[in-house]
């Protein structure tokens, strides 16, 4: 027992766990879901989805000792190029209203204020994976900007070989969806306890909420936190040991 009087008290999810739950809820059974470098939140979400509503989901978690490859990223890229990756995850130091992501520079390209690691295959993956979910660990107006300083990948465009595009953005505050009609990101839901004002205040572009009811959701749905803190944690200690130890203990 946890030492309280009410055995039915629900443990409080941590912010990272909300993001994991929100991402997991977007994954469908039977999908082949790949995660790249520096992606512990999508990796945990993929594991959580497979252990619950998506038992036939096929995970390709880069860095997972249970994933056997022979040619590293060359192989993952080949699968994406063949159309064999249903979901991939990307992030950005800047994301704008039309879903462009910036992973290269802040400021002018030839004289940046900050030089970042770069696109790392994102431009190809964003077009050739069947859909992309963006995830962020922050939600502020320096991240969600009216227009990125540099475009590494677009949400959608007219290239003939584009197979998919961004479907959603998962942040610590809520979920945006990419609207094909607007060709822009719009707010789809906020997490319970987060006000619409807080999201709007922290987003540097119009979230398209005018005239719409934005639901407040529990990002962890009916996922069992003990599942996340037990079996998912155990697997994550093998894949992202520092992340898992920091979030859930070693």
């Amino acid at each position: 027992m946890r030492g309280d009087d009410k055995p039915n008290v629900t443990p409080m999810p941590r912010p990272a766990e909300k993001i994991i739950g929100a991402i997991a809820g977007l994954l469908r059974d039977g999908e082949r879901v790949a995660t790249g470098t520096l992606s512990p939140l999508p990796a945990a979400a993929t594991l959580l989805a497979k252990m619950t509503h998506a038992p036939n989901l096929e995970p390709l978690i880069y860095g997972d000792p249970e994933l056997r490859l022979a040619e590293g990223f060359h192989e993952l890229f080949a699968l994406a190029q063949q159309g064999k990756i249903d979901v991939f995850f990307l992030s950005g130091v800047q994301i704008d209203r039309t879903g462009n992501i910036n992973l290269s520079v802040l400021g002018a390209y030839d004289r940046p204020t900050v030089r970042l690691p770069g696109g790392a295959g994102s431009s190809m993956l964003s077009a050739l994976a069947r859909r992309i979910i963006l995830f962020t660990v922050n939600h502020n107006p320096r991240l969600f900007v009216p227009r990125v300083d540099f475009i590494n990948a677009t949400a959608t465009d007219n290239v003939p070989w584009r197979r998919g595009g961004i479907s959603h953005v998962v942040t610590p505050l809520g979920i945006m969806a990419f609207s094909a009609a607007e060709k822009a990101l719009v707010l789809e839901a906020v997490y319970a306890g987060v006000s619409l004002e807080e999201v709007i205040h922290n987003t540097g572009f119009d979230l398209g909420v005018a005239g719409r009811d934005i639901p407040a959701i529990n990002p962890l749905r009916d996922y069992d936190l003990e599942l996340l803190r037990g079996p998912v944690r155990a697997r994550m200690l093998e894949i992202y040991p520092r992340f898992a130890a920091d979030l859930w203990g070693p």
Partner: protein, 162 residues
Amino acid sequence: MKVRRDLKIIPDPYTGNEYVVVPPVIPEVAIIHAMRGSRDGEVITLASRNDRLLAMAAKRTIAVVEELVVPEEVLAGRQEIFVAAAHIDAVVLAPGGAHPTGCPGRYETDAAHMREYLEAAKNEDDFRVYLDKYIFRPADHDEYLAAVSFRKTAAGSGRAGR
């Protein structure tokens, strides 16, 4: 094209689609880190990486190995691949040679040393001190490992640099 003059647009002769193409990357020299290798030049690298692809792309490749073994022992484990000797021009034996980055299954990234390097890299004088201490003064690889207080940690399945 605006920032890279070497990116060109060409029509695909089969579909008519226009593609942006990049010039091939052909390193003069590639340096890869390998788990083990033999004097014949056959080495074993990690399957999660693209070191073999790099060795195939470069004009010359130097493989730094953690262990020198007899040819019969150059065998790929569960998460490893074999690289043929034809792609390798030199084998350097340097256990701990990936330092300050890690070598999965052997040692973790030396985070403290990385932080020290990043601090030293902020200005010329501090960087000169760093170079003298770790690069110019150690006479050989063993003295380098001593200078950085290298200790093989029990890495288990730890991923380097993540």
